[in-house]
Symmetry: C2
DNA sequence: CTACGAATTCAAGTCGACTTGAGGTCAAGC
DNA sequence: GCTTGACCTCAAGTCGACTTGAATTCGTAG
């Protein structure tokens, strides 16, 4: 039970086998050993995949995630950089909250043009006053699961 | 002063001119008119760019952003979808907070392996218990500014 | 022993979001 | 009138993160 092959990891984590192979290739995860050709993973890979998923959700590239959580297990990057990252996340959370509020407002406000709605403008001002955390290009693609 | 050409928009927003052209091409922003060949933008494009930047930071694709904020100005997508999006953002914020805490912990904890640190495991459990918001691939590339 | 299904490799393809480069236009200043 | 600089177009290139497909290799069940 402690050893999983790729299909099980895929099923439990929602990460496609091809992606798992890719992650192993770039050193983001590793298998314990092979049985024949087949990779055998330890259960801790699931934890690591959660970490990776969170990192991705937070806008880090795979390379950065590898740096933060270490290919080996411990961070490659200096502690104060980690703290800086944490502070960036903090700011990003605030931005997310603003966007959440804007979305809710847009969903509810009956004004024909939001540019004329004072509530909207107020929300936007909060956003435009501070400098943006500008992280391009997040693709949305939902959790993949192995076909049943 | 109400009319900006592309260089000014780029400078004020931190978005490269080539990107602005691209955004116009896909209908995400629009210029008021041309003077000769040159695009002339209204100041409200800056607000729109903030919105776009926030959307990107939150993990939306450009297409989704276009849907949310409307090519014309008003959302293309139904109100309840907007609310759903807002709720997703809410969950994403929680994930971000967890990751922030993990980062801070990793920065400060002297344990040789975090997998053995109880604080770390506790943080991770919070993360792995709920199903992930899995949004692949955010590139980080910082705010570009025109060279001085 | 053989057939099956789940895994493997490797090269190539895809997708979104831009960027780059070559060659062209235009208004303003000397 | 010519140069300069800021803009333009259009096609092609790039980058990260995967996915796909064809051909192959196992291990188990019958």
């Amino acid at each position: 039970m402690a050893v999983l092959d790729i299909g099980e990891v895929a099923e439990r984590s929602g990460v496609a086998p091809s992606t798992l192979r890719y992650y192993e290739e770039i050193g983001l995860i590793s298998s314990l050993w092979r049985r024949g050709l087949r990779r055998q993973f330890g259960a801790d890979v699931l934890l690591r995949l959660s970490l990776i998923a969170m990192g991705k959700a937070a806008g880090f590239s795979l390379e950065e995630i590898a740096g933060i959580f270490g290919r080996d297990g411990r961070p490659d990057i200096p502690r104060d950089q980690l703290r800086t990252r944490a502070d960036e996340l903090q700011r990003q959370m605030i931005e997310l909250r603003t966007l959440r509020d804007i979305l809710r407002h847009v969903a509810d406000c009956p004004a024909p043009s939001h540019l004329e709605c004072p509530t909207f403008r107020k929300l936007m001002q909060a956003a435009s006053r501070r400098k943006l955390v500008y992280r391009p290009s997040v693709r949305r693609s939902g959790v993949r699961r192995a076909a049943p």
